[in-house]
Subunit: 275 residues, 2 copies
Amino acid sequence: MNIGEISYTNIIPLYFYLDRERLMDQGATITQAVPSRVNALMEKQLVDIGGISSFSYGKNAHNYSLVPDLSVSSFGKVNSIFLFSKFKIEELDGKRIALTSSSETSVALLKIILDRFYGVEVAYKTETPNFEAMLNTYDACLLIGDDAISAYRKRGSYNVYDLGEIWYQQTGLPMIFAVMAYRNEMETEQGALLSYVGRSMIESKERCQRENFVPVIERAITEHGGTFQFWNSYFNGLNYQFSGEHEKGLNLYFQLAVECGLLKTMPSIIKYSYK
Amino acid sequence: MNIGEISYTNIIPLYFYLDRERLMDQGATITQAVPSRVNALMEKQLVDIGGISSFSYGKNAHNYSLVPDLSVSSFGKVNSIFLFSKFKIEELDGKRIALTSSSETSVALLKIILDRFYGVEVAYKTETPNFEAMLNTYDACLLIGDDAISAYRKRGSYNVYDLGEIWYQQTGLPMIFAVMAYRNEMETEQGALLSYVGRSMIESKERCQRENFVPVIERAITEHGGTFQFWNSYFNGLNYQFSGEHEKGLNLYFQLAVECGLLKTMPSIIKYSYK
């Protein structure tokens, strides 16, 4: 069993306290990569379980299931997925928007928001993320992650929209950015190890929460700089559960993605039942 | 490019200071696994560069080359590869020896030592490593790693032989246990990244040496327990270079393995030339 480990900060709590040596003694391997690569490796069956983007789960739901109780979500502001715009969001009809090439989930979220919530029709083009270059040529741009955070500091008089906040205001449901999924074959082929990995990730998350993310924050400061306060509000703004509300939120996201023609069929959300 | 990372302690210095985030931003992934799994993943082309056992390099040398200046070697005692025997080593002719299933390099080393240096002929059988069970049934047993270290404490009146020490006494050359190898395709397909990875590993090793392995020792204590003194002598007993002496040692090991019928053809040792 190959476990995919996303190298980004927001998902660290699910992996932080894994007993890697014990996992490897049981025959597991762990592959670290950027998010889009983990999605792709799992599609190619080179990764068997891992944190993948919600949109990637939606496209592959016939082959995947969820490890229960785990996600990367937000109830409201997520502070790292921003639309920067020269116009008010409701005035974007007929305008041109540059999309980051870094994320499918956020791109689909923006398209859902503009189409279903604001009824505006726009022309999209995918570009390498670059705040200034994008706004030289386009009326608005979508950025995520570090690109979004640094652009926010330079936002000047642009209108800035936090997509997690808009989603929550419009739906009353959390936005699920990533889920912990596994390829269905694992249940029959490596059920015992799958259970162990799932439980270990839940324990890791719960321990991080009990500790108020302090050791995780300390590692983030070492690796990325920034203040304790910044990372504290970062981790506390994210939610790592997968409750009934999360399932409703994810289902609505998929339903709207189907309505917008972004997904071909409505994905089923199947969760692992521990034996 | 997928980088194989062995989850064992002895090779940590080559990976300790890698800038994992920068590697991943350049498109690399890192897969952590036990040594035999890294060997196997590289044979299956699922890993492109990694620390592999010398014997695995010997079997695949037509497809692999070495990252220069890197190895896991010893000049003398290695303290974790022991033959425990009811008889003196020169009296083992006609006896039965249990081999650990954990290592090909050490198994070949034992066979070379007994055949070429002592001229004794013995019957071998591979068993799951278990000190007591092996010596209930056999005249001697080969153990490596943690199994060897814990058996050493229970050795009683058995004769104990350190294979690293015998090799050095008999040849005057270091014993090379692992090398840093890459699949030849990487040179043309991902030359720039290959150079960066190789240089980063050399820098990591050199920084660990400058720091007298103190941060590495601290991590080993956290992960495995044991005293500072134990891990200090462990890391200082190992050698991480690949000099002309190392090349001679590895060549002699391969030559004797061919003479003993353990390798079919004499492997060539090719090293990467930085452009």
